[in-house]
Symmetry: C2
Subunit: 194 residues, 2 copies
């Protein structure tokens, strides 16, 4: 899986710079987890032990930083899908994976908010992550469709967005989120009477 965003910069980063980028991503992960994505820039720089200018040098826009933090988790999500697909019926794998994805979104409380609200951001931050996840979910959906367990034709992208949106109220409202996801799945399944 080499489709990562590892575009090599014109001039390769100096060792200290590389170290700082690393520290910033880690620091951001910590601070985002604590304060949400709207955390103060200064706090992140502090946590990483660098000046704010350094932060801005490497991550001109906040979303760049959010993106970097998430990349790793997204990769994990993709791997999970493959494992689930191997160990369960397609429909179960799908259900389980959505639950996993939901947990992922919730962990980063506020991420959902960042992914949404406003065309610009949606296209920016959202697109990159969702596009990475899309083939994964699509495969699970295809699998479920083949077994006839599912009728509905919602696209993978639709589902990814919907779940993310339904996660917005945050971890405290996970019950609500679960109920709604179940409802969506029911709709997808068009369960032929129960």
């Amino acid at each position: 899986m080499t489709s990562r965003n590892d575009a090599v910069p014109q001039t390769p980063l100096r060792a200290d710079a590389r170290r700082n980028v690393e520290a910033l991503v880690e620091g951001a992960r910590t601070v985002f987890a604590r304060d949400g994505v709207d955390a103060h820039v200064k706090d992140i720089a502090l946590e990483a032990g660098v000046g704010v200018a350094t932060l801005y040098r490497h991550f001109p826009k906040r979303t760049d930083l959010v993106l970097a933090v998430l990349q790793h988790d997204v990769d994990e999500c993709v791997e999970t899908a493959q494992e689930l697909a191997a160990a369960h019926t397609p429909m179960d794998a799908l259900t389980l994976w959505l639950d996993r994805y939901c947990a992922f979104v919730l962990t980063k409380h506020g991420l959902a908010a960042a992914l949404q609200s406003g065309e610009a951001t949606f296209a920016g931050l959202g697109a990159q992550l969702l596009e990475r996840l899309e083939p994964t979910l699509d495969e699970l959906l295809q699998g479920a469709r083949v077994t006839g367990a599912m009728e509905g034709g919602a696209s993978a992208m639709d589902l990814l967005r919907a779940v993310a949106h339904l996660c917005t109220p945050g971890p405290a409202h996970i019950d609500y989120t679960r109920r709604m996801i179940t409802l969506l799945l029911t709709g997808l399944r068009q369960d032929p009477a129960t």
Copy 2:
């Protein structure tokens, strides 16, 4: 319908104050529609032709202003429900009303974002509006259930929230929103085979 938030202040507002409050709500409506709920406070004051201090005097928190602007539209939404219930089958009324509600949320682009993201806001701004709408939707749901057109037991509040959440990407993505709402309804209906 006298359940409005018309708590009379200890000292009744002076005439000029009342006029300014009016102007502020109107100004806010205009500016929110143009710039979204994150519009600059100064712009709103300018549009209303008053100083910022006046704005703060009457609406200490931004949400107070948002709330005031929305109150009227929410009332309209409630009335629409009653009309629809009278003119259609319960299930149709429900579907149509949700579409109306969805349009309402979309009109105020950014409203959804305000309603969400973060427990605090959810409880604050969200609660008041949703609670006003809740009995309305609940009645429609009851109606649909009685006719046997619907099995699912999702609560009115759940649905109100879900639709609002699914509206977050904004008016430009209304197709997505509609698809997802349809899916939810399908889930609710648990259509006994098609």
